[in-house]
């Protein structure tokens, strides 16, 4: 969505790269080139825009995933990629389009200002701008506040006014919840999870069966590495492939997946589109602020030196499938998905595994706790705080979400409505009763 990688795209983007001396567009061989997407690929404006349209359309064509007349929800963050995506949808629906897009688009914006520390004035300013944009489109649209995850009736997805008392209290609850999260890494992961839950709930309640999101290859290559680093190896395909089918009766599609952030920025510039700059958790932070931010710095640094970095990471991702790790238990029942991220659980692993070794370390640490201190060499592991208490959510959350919850010592304000699945709800209830209400 709107990441600083995309927003910062302009700084390294140069039209007519000095080192490259193409004199005509490689496609039409007539006009002079105005954009160089890769070394030796120089396009004139028209051919570049055609190339973008083609790339966008082929994402749907290849998979034939969207039926004629189907309602498709466009997730719009205001950033570079979703601005381009919305424009591509509008162009595809316009009379100018050679082959019209046949689905029925609707728009959604999630206002996350409450947790990102934006002032009420700033939030309102952004919402006003988005509403105007949405109204202009003429499509059905939804502007949702993140705090609505607490709202009992948020499944109705009503456009709530900012003065609504219900929203105000839920805003405080949401802020308290995020304040209790100790690391930015966990805040980012939690925000992503809540946002996706909220979007999918709105989509379902409003009769959409598809959601399209504007993740570019630049964004997804960072997401892939970052997911790996957060223990989500079993869910790489959900997090980065064209189709994310973890939700019941709803597909998440990433039609911008073949675009680089540079291409998206060029597209917007050629059409004179002005994406919003919405500050995030790490906008002004150093690269070590979170795993996402660190990974973004790492990948963009490599990409600058080795221009095939992003495409190689994406190729690696293409060869991964979703882990078939949701093993049936002893009674033959398949386990329910992770109660937080809804991806299959990846915690039924052999004793000889990373998780097994963490469990063993915890076990050792627990049994040693009462003992008197032994030799210093013996306590290395304990002193290094290697052991992390992964036991609390043991059976209902995936490995990565367990890590997330470790950074959230008192999730007492977790919105029940988000975890709408019966079993998840029960698990959460019993967890809260056991651990938090003491």
């Amino acid at each position: 969505m709107c990441t600083s990688l995309e927003d910062g795209g302009l700084s390294y983007l140069k039209i007519n790269n000095e080192s490259y001396k193409a004199t005509i567009c490689m496609k039409c061989k007539v006009k002079s080139p105005q954009v160089v997407i890769r070394v030796n690929d120089a396009f004139c404006r028209e051919c570049f825009l055609m190339y973008c349209t083609h790339k966008f359309r082929s994402a749907f064509g290849k998979s034939k995933i969207i039926r004629d007349g189907e309602k498709v929800l466009v997730a719009f963050s205001g950033g570079q990629a979703s601005t381009a995506m919305l424009h591509l949808v509008k162009e595809g629906k316009s009379v100018r389009a050679q082959k019209k897009l046949r689905f029925v688009p609707g728009l959604i914006y999630v206002d996350e200002g409450a947790v990102l520390g934006h002032s009420n004035e700033d939030r309102q300013r952004i919402i006003d701008r988005i509403s105007e944009l949405f109204m202009d489109s003429g499509y059905e649209h939804h502007i949702i506040k993140l705090e609505q995850v607490f709202s009992e009736e948020f499944s109705d997805a009503t456009l709530l006014s900012p003065n609504n008392a219900e929203v105000k209290t839920s805003q405080e609850r949401l802020q308290q919840l995020f304040d209790s999260v100790q690391t930015i890494t966990a805040k980012e992961q939690f925000l992503r999870t809540l946002r996706q839950q909220l979007i999918s709930q709105v989509a379902k309640s409003q009769g959409y069966s598809k959601v399209i999101i504007g993740d570019t290859s630049s964004r997804l290559s960072v997401a892939l590495l970052s997911s790996m680093a957060q223990g989500k190896g079993a869910h790489i395909a959900y997090d980065t492939s064209l189709i994310d089918d973890r939700y019941d009766q709803l597909l998440l599609i990433r039609p911008m997946r073949e675009f680089t952030s540079k291409e998206v920025t060029m597209y917007n510039r050629f059409y004179g589109l002005n994406p919003l700059v919405v500050p995030t958790f790490t906008t002004k932070a150093t690269s070590g602020a979170s795993i996402d931010k660190l990974t973004e710095t790492f990948v963009s640094g490599l990409q600058a030196e080795f221009p095939s970095t992003v495409s190689t990471i994406m190729r690696t991702g293409d060869k991964l499938s979703n882990g078939k790790v949701s093993m049936p238990d002893a009674d033959g029942n398949t386990t329910s998905p992770c109660m937080l991220c809804l991806a299959p659980l990846d915690i039924s692993v052999a004793e000889s595994s990373a998780l097994g070794s963490v469990r063993y370390t915890n076990q050792l640490a627990a049994s040693r706790k009462s003992d008197s201190p032994t030799s210093s060499a013996d306590n290395i592991s304990a002193s290094l705080e290697r052991s992390c208490d992964l036991n609390s959510y043991d059976s209902s959350c995936c490995y990565s979400c367990q890590r997330l919850l470790e950074d959230m010592p008192q999730p007492k304000f977790l919105p029940g409505a988000v975890f709408s699945r019966e079993q998840s709800r029960l698990a959460m209830k019993s967890y809260i009763e056991e651990n938090l209400l003491s």
């Binding site: 190896g233 079993a234 795993i291 490599l302 370390t361 290395i380 990565s400």
Partner: protein, 320 residues
């Protein structure tokens, strides 16, 4: 606790069976020194019944390997374990010093890495080892996972988190008892136990690209201390699409070592060295050496090296 964790790794992973001869890859560095110390200790404490042998590879790097080998020789006395040394010079007729004299500082790590993989297997064969264990720690493995993603090497990505690897029936299985041990735990353990190890970096330039991955892992660990194990978990639970093509493993026509091409990487590199074409084998395997289109095989210049010998049982390409 440190020792018990490694014991647990060995037991739960079924790494060894009683009566086996186990070659411990010993470089004189901290990881392999800790590995040798702890294998000796656990073997006695828990009665594994293993016959342990230190196995060192002498790359022929003056000012680095000669000094670290002195450390290994002291370890041999300290732990009273037998030691076997195999050298590049005797295996390939080239030492790293002479390779660098011929090709310069660029790419020499490629040679060294490829040659070391085979050398360890050949050494293990000579001492009739049933298993090889190496000192790769959790940081090394996490780094390799990231490297393989960045390189798009899906075959290695799949293998690199396995605790024991053996892609070939003939091969000597390799295992990594320190797989779940953080590098800093190893450093602290070596410090507290006052272990004698050699800590100088190789004098030839390290792999720059790997350096990026290493720095990333270290930064991740700063942000979230469990990141290294989290990456290994990711590697363990990730799934490769079934239709993904994996290289078919065959044997090198020249030396019999396992290879996905007609000639193994070591033989191609050697041929380049011997013919004065040091670029041969760097990067992609040249077409002539690939398995497809086998008609070119007669055109290959037959190079006389110690590698040319009767097909023998040799171990798989190392998977890290």
């Amino acid at each position: 606790m440190f020792e018990e964790e490694i014991h647990q790794t060995i037991i739960s992973g079924n790494l060894f069976s009683s009566g086996e001869t186990v070659a411990i890859g010993a470089s004189g560095g901290k990881d392999s020194t800790v590995l040798a110390y702890i294998m000796k200790l656990l073997n006695e404490k828990y009665d594994y019944g293993l016959n342990l042998v230190l196995l060192s590879v002498d790359e022929g790097i003056t000012g680095y390997r000669d000094d670290s080998l002195e450390t290994v020789k002291r370890n041999k006395e300290q732990y009273s374990l037998p030691l076997k040394i195999v050298s590049y010079q005797e295996l390939y007729n080239w030492s790293m010093d002479s390779i660098v004299r011929q090709i310069g500082m660029k790419n020499n790590c490629t040679f060294c890495g490829v040659f070391r993989r085979q050398a360890l297997d050949r050494g293990a064969n000579l001492i009739k080892a049933d298993k090889i264990c190496t000192g790769h720690n959790a940081d090394d493995i996490a780094e390799t996972v990231i490297m393989n993603i960045l390189r798009g090497d899906i075959a290695r990505l799949r293998r690199c988190t396995a605790i024991t690897t053996c892609s070939d029936d003939d091969g000597i299985p390799r295992c990594k008892p320190l797989k779940y041990t953080y590098e800093k735990e190893i450093v602290m353990y070596a410090y507290f136990k006052n272990l004698d190890y050699f800590s100088t970096e190789c004098i030839y330039s390290p792999n720059a690209y790997r350096g990026y991955a290493r720095a990333y892992i270290k930064d991740l660990e700063q942000v979230r201390p469990s990141s290294i194990l989290d990456i290994i978990h990711s590697g363990e639970v990730m799934c490769i699409k079934e239709e993904t093509k994996m290289p078919v493993q065959t044997h090198c026509e020249r030396c019999g070592y396992i290879s996905s091409n007609k000639l193994c990487k070591a033989c191609i590199l050697l041929e380049g060295l011997n013919k004065g074409l040091p670029k041969l084998g760097i990067g992609k395997t040249p077409k002539t050496y690939r398995t497809e289109g086998a008609s070119n095989s007669q055109n290959l210049v037959h190079v006389q090296t110690v590698l040319v010998r009767a097909r023998q049982k040799l171990a798989p390409e190392m998977v890290l």
